[in-house]
Amino acid sequence: MGLAEELDLIHRRLLTGSRVAARDLFLTALSPLKGHLAKTQAALDEETRHDLATDALLIYLEQPVRCDVDTSSLWTYLCLVASRNATDAFRKKVRHHRLLAESADLVEEWSGRANNVRRTEDAIDARQILEQHGERLTTNETEARLLQLMLEGEKSTDAFAGVLGLDPSADDTVTLVKQAKDRMRLRLRRLRGELEL
């Protein structure tokens, strides 16, 4: 019996209520489906292909009635689902890499600047960095405002103290502002490292 016929039998067992047919589907279809993706979606890595094949089976198992084996085989149905999801995954990956490449230049440029020099002539677009990476760099509104000041090249300790809710005249304000800025610089360096990978 060929693969397509075997899978159609499993499909019919599922429709009649078999609980074990799901396991038989995994045993029968997972490897061939991964092989199909390896041939048709060679740009995707093996782990991604494995996940796509798994997801195709799970999508089918959620509603087996969607597959009409009188029209086309279950094998064809599974290949279509897996290929469609593979195309989506590939587009998502390309979009992700393009976004990272675009923002990497910005973060690299900012990270290379001297800490206490304001260079308005080549000011970094702080808003763009905040929009693209704000969620990873900051956890609350105060940190977001601190980051924005840093990206804009602010030098005044009083300005940072105001954002942080500190008394500018207190003895430890300079230390606390420095600690907050150092923490943010560390996050920026980590982000730059990730973007360079």
Binding site: A22, R23, L30, S31, T54, L61
Partner: protein, 123 residues
């Protein structure tokens, strides 16, 4: 029909599948995950008195239906080479725990399994 005694390559592939399978609510994988998180010190293979590899088979079966419970348990138990009464009792406990958790809108992996473990009635 697929061979129950999968070779080791297939078994390795299927183990990778289980994490994703446990995210669905229609496979037994989800119930095994609930048990494992609620009772981390209890080995499911010991509870069911079966080899570890049978658990992969079990996890990939569809959950037994309430209105066909006995026949579904019988089918699964036979295919996975697990004693039917043990499987029946085990799945009833986990299903009850899952329902209790859902009824109280809490994490299904929480501690309510301990209370459900002593119940033997129909889920």
């Amino acid at each position: 029909m697929a061979n129950l005694n999968s070779d080791m390559d297939d078994l390795g592939d299927l183990r990778q599948v289980l994490t994703r399978a446990a995210r669905t609510d229609f496979l037994i994988a989800r119930l095994l995950q609930i048990w494992s998180r609620a009772c981390p010190t209890e080995n499911i293979a010991d509870v069911l008195d079966c080899p570890e590899q049978r658990l992969v088979d079990l996890a990939l079966c569809l959950r037994p239906r309430v209105d066909h419970w006995e026949s579904d348990i019988s089918e699964i138990a036979t295919a996975c080479e697990i004693e039917s009464d043990r499987l029946d009792a085990f799945l009833k406990k986990v299903v009850i725990a899952e329902r209790l958790a859902l009824a109280h809108e809490t994490d299904a992996d929480g501690g309510r399994l301990l209370a459900a473990r002593d119940r033997q009635d129909e889920p």
